[in-house]
Subunit: 147 residues, 2 copies
């Protein structure tokens, strides 16, 4: 592949990352959320309470990040920790009522953001989009690569 084409792809991914995140940030700000936190809430809303190690796996970020994210969401009252009797190392994370309410608001924002994002794309492009993106993600996933 020549450099022009490679750069077009890499650059496009980089810029989409920046802009999509910035837009998410702008949409989430009124809810008092920073980007990244919404993923945690949505994951808990989807799958239910889980320990931080599972959260880390589900969100695709590292354990220290989960520690900090959950700490902030706990401070704002949206999640709560619960000890696991059978394993003193672990700590279950679950949504509070406030967190559940917030998650439903986030879902609406999420739909709006996705619609905004794909505006002007051909329907079949949109249909195959998740697959395409996930393939690329798997291709560069250094997590599974290493393990």
């Amino acid at each position: 592949m020549d450099f022009e084409q490679a750069d077009a792809i890499n650059q496009a991914i980089r810029l989409l990352s920046l802009r999509h995140r910035a837009r998410a940030s702008a949409l989430l700000a009124p809810l008092g959320l920073h980007p990244g936190q919404e993923a945690l809430l949505l994951e808990l809303a989807r799958t239910g309470p889980m320990i931080k190690a599972q959260l880390s796996e589900a969100l695709g970020c590292e354990p220290p990040s989960v520690t900090l994210m959950t700490r902030k969401l706990e401070a704002s009252g949206h999640i709560r920790f619960r000890a696991v009797p059978s394993d003193k190392r672990a700590s279950v994370v679950e949504l509070t009522d406030s967190g559940k309410a917030l998650a439903t608001q986030v879902k609406q924002l999420w739909c709006a953001l996705a619609e905004e994002t794909i505006a002007g794309l051909a329907p079949d492009t949109v249909a195959s989009l998740p697959d395409t993106l996930n393939t690329m993600t798997a291709n560069v996933d250094s997590r599974r690569r290493a393990k």
Copy 2:
């Protein structure tokens, strides 16, 4: 659009961002570069010397980010600053010889990364990929939105 579909798209973009950046970081580390810096070097290699405000525009990031990025790249000897006689506010940024050499190395890495990224995708998907991504980027670009 229903939430399932919206989440699939937003989540896929978020994960691709994380992984593509992480992979870039791993590839750039041997060159002593952190992700983001390569874009600056490539931009200077492509367009030639320019002032920081232009760099900020070209890279799609904010002026304070450019201040810090250029400071670090200057410290590692890859770029250099030059005053503009006609405008005492401005400061031109240009590649040093070391920076030029590094840029050509980055170009090779960039091609490898792009090839790795698109592995397994249909050729026509790849062909339309930059356009698709750029459309999405423009759709969520809060910069132009505001102005």
